[in-house]
Symmetry: C4
Subunit: 339 residues, 4 copies
């Protein structure tokens, strides 16, 4: 499906919200381009008759390193919404991250996809109790990790939303009535005063491993380790917050160096192909998050569409492991890249 | 508004004069591209609930670092002309620089925008008395700094003007009757024999801090400090003078090093977004000048249009400070850039 | 002929199979671009009245360094098929490599082009006997070298074939009945468990010099020397296997260094012009393989078309030797490149 | 005039011959791009009220550094032909170089433009006497330097001419009857066996300073000095001989270093603007040759058109000297370039 078809399907407002990035969308494009620029250097004559894409994240073995990124308002993509995506993740053995801005309740997603490995993404709102309630629900309904997003003190500068005036009309945990709210109204609920000192409160409340999502600098990665994060997601929020920030691919290596194995490092932004996933692992990531591609799958064909996208990613990764001559994903390292 | 609409609005002549650059307009394009190429490296979990964009320039605290660049013949953009732009600057707490080639008198602009922080830009003409008279008027009418433009010994090679034969039909200080004059006739009045030795005369006449605008080399920046300039504007005149000169963004860092705090350093050329402003500050600039965007705002909607452009720039800068995790503009430094 | 004409001629299926590459075809394009990026530095006032493009490969003098790459299913390009290409090679004194996936039998090609310098390309199938039989036939019918392709443990990720569902309808050695098989069915016959230890079996069976095709890394090149390969073909399989692997041109120099003359080094991928051939030799290659251009010649005009393409390549190389001031191809070295 | 208009004017054949380059025309485009990539770093507050573009070449003061490159078959561009161009050169104080492949005789050009500073470009033909006769005529008719072109042992690979079959129908010194000859027939007359040892014969015959045109390497430049050349023209023949050779701009600096003042260094290829001329001088060239732009001027409007082009180049150079703050062309050096 090309842009025009997606717009016809979703309307300009939702499409713009999903597809768009901050400012002139330079980082949005650079996210994809940075992975493409990296060149692979495959090895031959290795027995690749059986491949194993599994990785260990948060001490747990995952069958493969693809995690579905938290994405807001999925019912605006398709009525299957977050439940459809979660079921698609379950069907493909992917990890699913539910957004704080979900258009399906924490309980309903859990009920719809009880077998899915589910994590919960947390936004810290000005009204802290709202956030703490979300954590409590996530805990109650078997979510296994808390992903605290730290790159959203204020809303990004998104011109498509300004143009379309996109507003969310489905009920949300933070807007249970579902009265129409623009994204900037919703963004205004985020707490811009959040600091490192506040993280402890959520680690305590979570009772599950905590990851910090939205880190791009090695010094911040070290502080994350210091405050007890079990993992870090190197991310520029899909190019949606501040335009011209560096890409996840470019930010990753220094963060891996700084963390030095003391926490898991995940990365996202612009990962579109199984070989992008492999490159992230070669650069030291433990797993990756994939956002928009899953959303486009959902938009086109609900749960089945999201599933097809995830299946293709896994197949591409499997092919990549074979053609790199590296049958085990955990053996991917910088020797498979040039220079 | 796109180019075609602006041409319809302004006519080819004025549009070409405003939009155009020298030669093949490579520097014109490179000006914007150089800012875009720089990558930001944001910090997270800093309390950014209140942001402060203020900077200190010429010993004075400015609420934010955006200065409206001196631009000639603004009545050809809109009947509000320089008064409209000055009032827009006042309304947005921006600094306004009036061009020597203003289509509104120094006195009238002062009367129209008494509260605006106004600086006066000086061209030194062959007939020095014309220039000295301008300085005297600026002094009399409360302009607070003198910006002597030094990159205009002769007119740039502007092919759009050659093609359209654009001529100025509004009265000017240096052509009070308003009889139609082409830009090359007007440019011929500039004094190509101006040297460092002549600057003292204007420092004396000014009775206000003097900035030299149009410097691109560190050695020239040092001489500017030596002759007593309070500030320097790193500028290639918006790509309008000599094509393929280096961009302001590329010229800035060596100049900052050479000046070493002995004068204020401003920069212009291709700054289009609040994050470009932030990058300039990260590279050591104290403030920035913004040209064409303000002019397009004026062209579209007079004072209100210029105001909208300036407001958006400030909002973008505010968002940038929040998303960089650097709530105070004065703390921006190279640590927020990658490599 | 442009793409549209070729599609009209061949149908989308065969055209997509021939023209296409893996994934987003970034490596496919980079293959050509990498040769184009290299800059030549010609010498003047050398007597170039007679030029000699001959090289020594596998101990044998070849009149020029152009080898026709093994390419599958050539009857889908033109009814002349592999026999036409082999005759074109003979007519132009080129070396011809017959693919394991030939739509003409080993014997028939030998009969059709008895004078052609013929090599045989081997795929090692899960059913090893199929491969050993191919080797025996090649030996029997006067093929002079065995090119074992090692970059095909599994099929590449080729989206054009997925889209068109291209299937092979001509009889093949490994599908003698010619019942329609898709490429992925055919690819599934390849043996993904092949390792360095298995190469000896084919060296023994061959009774002719063995080359390993599909090597991109210096460490693999050294192992190839260690297992007794007489030659190496630096190749990413025309960008058809794993997208974003490095180009042949970029992979070549480190391989040449690692091999250090202990085996012949050939290279392919994106060589389109006689000056590309010369550049490969400047970088240390002993000869080059050329793929698609020959196929397009065949598609357009059968044997004569392939011949025309090869003749042009030789003429371009001859002109290059003259204009580089290097009349003997064996004297080409890095001094004819800049930096 | 754009390409379509020029084609309408000249026909595909002549237009293709004039505009075209070798192969895929990558060097043709790179020639222009290399000058454009170089960034200028202007100086301010220098008295530039009078500019002097003069340079010293072959011991003679030239009012400015622009030389009209030797170009064949100018009557195919306009009936004014070489005489028109020579008169345009005289009118603009430019130096004119007459090609060996002139469609106007050496004597007639001299008669038409007696005041023009005229040099003669020599091709050495298989029949050496033809070349020696040309030299004798040049000497007799007051040509002041002999430019021996050394990058043409054989014709370049020019696909436009192959396609159009362009043939020359005007009388030439080497084809006095004017019977139609294709460029490849004409090129076949060049002597590919010419070496350094043969240069002496022409130095002796010339009785005027000799320049070698078509040198790109520092080692060849040194040999040129050794055989007594008074000057060198760094040139890739306008991208018409071997595609993907390095550009004149890129070749120039190492040649300047190697020559170290022992001969004059000129450069050509892609110089389109006065600031390109200045850049060449900054990089150490003593003068530049300009080809196609003059030809397009001639094609459009005969002598007057060529004159207009040369006048614009001089005006642009004059403006460049003013805006670089370097009023004397002889003071241009690398300090006016960045990095
Ligand atoms: C439509 C959309 C909504 C998003 N909503 C959230 C969110 O609610 N919480 C969050 O942490 N990240 C959110 N993100 C960011 C993603 O989690 C992820 O970082 C990003 O999409 C990865 O880039 P990609 O889309 O290029 O794969 C959202 C992204 C998109 C595209
Ligand atoms: C239409 C126009 C007129 C200008 N007139 C003047 C002027 O009179 N004096 C001056 O010093 N600079 C003048 N400039 C240059 C600007 O002050 C400034 O350096 C430049 O516009 C900054 O680049 P930007 O337009 O890309 O922001 C002019 C620029 C434009 C676009
Ligand atoms: C249509 C097609 C079929 C191919 N089939 C084979 C094959 O059967 N065996 C093999 O080793 N390589 C095969 N290749 C790869 C070529 O031998 C060669 O490596 C590649 O085409 C070189 O790149 P080029 O096409 O850009 O010149 C094939 C390539 C193409 C284009
Ligand atoms: C149509 C044409 C004809 C040429 N003929 C000759 C020639 O007869 N002798 C020669 O030495 N160079 C010849 N040249 C090369 C030019 O002298 C010069 O090196 C080149 O044109 C410079 O590049 P430019 O056209 O980009 O300025 C010719 C170039 C062109 C475009």
């Amino acid at each position: 499906m090309d842009d025009a078809e997606l717009i016809a399907l979703l309307g300009e407002g939702a499409h713009g919200y999903f597809a768009g990035g901050a400012g002139d969308e330079l980082t949005l494009r650079d996210n994809e381009a940075s992975w493409s620029r990296i060149r692979l250097s495959p090895q031959v004559l290795v027995d690749v008759s059986s491949r194993d894409a599994s990785v260990t994240v948060l001490g747990q073995r995952l069958p493969h390193p693809v995690v579905v990124a938290p994405m807001a308002y999925q019912r605006h993509a398709h009525e299957d919404g977050e439940s459809g995506t979660a079921r698609a993740a379950a069907a493909t053995d992917s990890t699913f991250v539910l957004s704080s801005q979900s258009t399906t309740s924490i309980a309903d997603v859990a009920a719809a996809a009880p077998d899915a490995r589910r994590w919960f993404q947390l936004y810290v709102f000005k009204d802290r109790q709202v956030s703490l309630d979300l954590v409590a629900q996530a805990r109650e309904h078997g979510y296994e990790a808390l992903v605290v997003t730290v790159d959203f003190p204020v809303g990004g500068w998104r011109e498509r939303d300004r143009r379309t005036g996109f507003s969310v009309t489905h009920p949300l945990a933070i807007n249970p009535t579902g009265e129409s709210m623009t994204t900037s109204e919703l963004f205004a609920m985020h707490d811009p005063s959040l600091t490192w000192d506040d993280i402890g409160e959520f680690t305590d409340a979570a009772g599950m491993p905590l990851l910090l999502k939205g880190i791009l600098r090695p010094d911040d990665a070290e502080r994350a380790v210091d405050v007890g994060a079990a993992g870090i997601v190197v991310s520029n929020h899909g190019g949606r917050q501040l335009d011209t920030v560096l890409s996840g691919a470019d930010a990753l290596p220094p963060v891996v160096d700084a963390v030095a194995g003391r926490a898991d490092v995940l990365v996202d932004g612009g990962i579109r192909r199984g070989w992008d996933v492999a490159k992230a692992l070669c650069l030291g990531a433990d797993a990756v998050l994939v956002g928009r591609p899953v959303l486009w799958g959902l938009a086109q064909n609900g749960q089945a569409g999201a599933e097809a996208v995830l299946t293709q990613l896994h197949d591409e990764l499997d092919t990549t492991l074979a053609l790199l001559g590296c049958p085990n994903a955990r053996d991917l390292d910088a020797s498979f890249l040039t220079r």
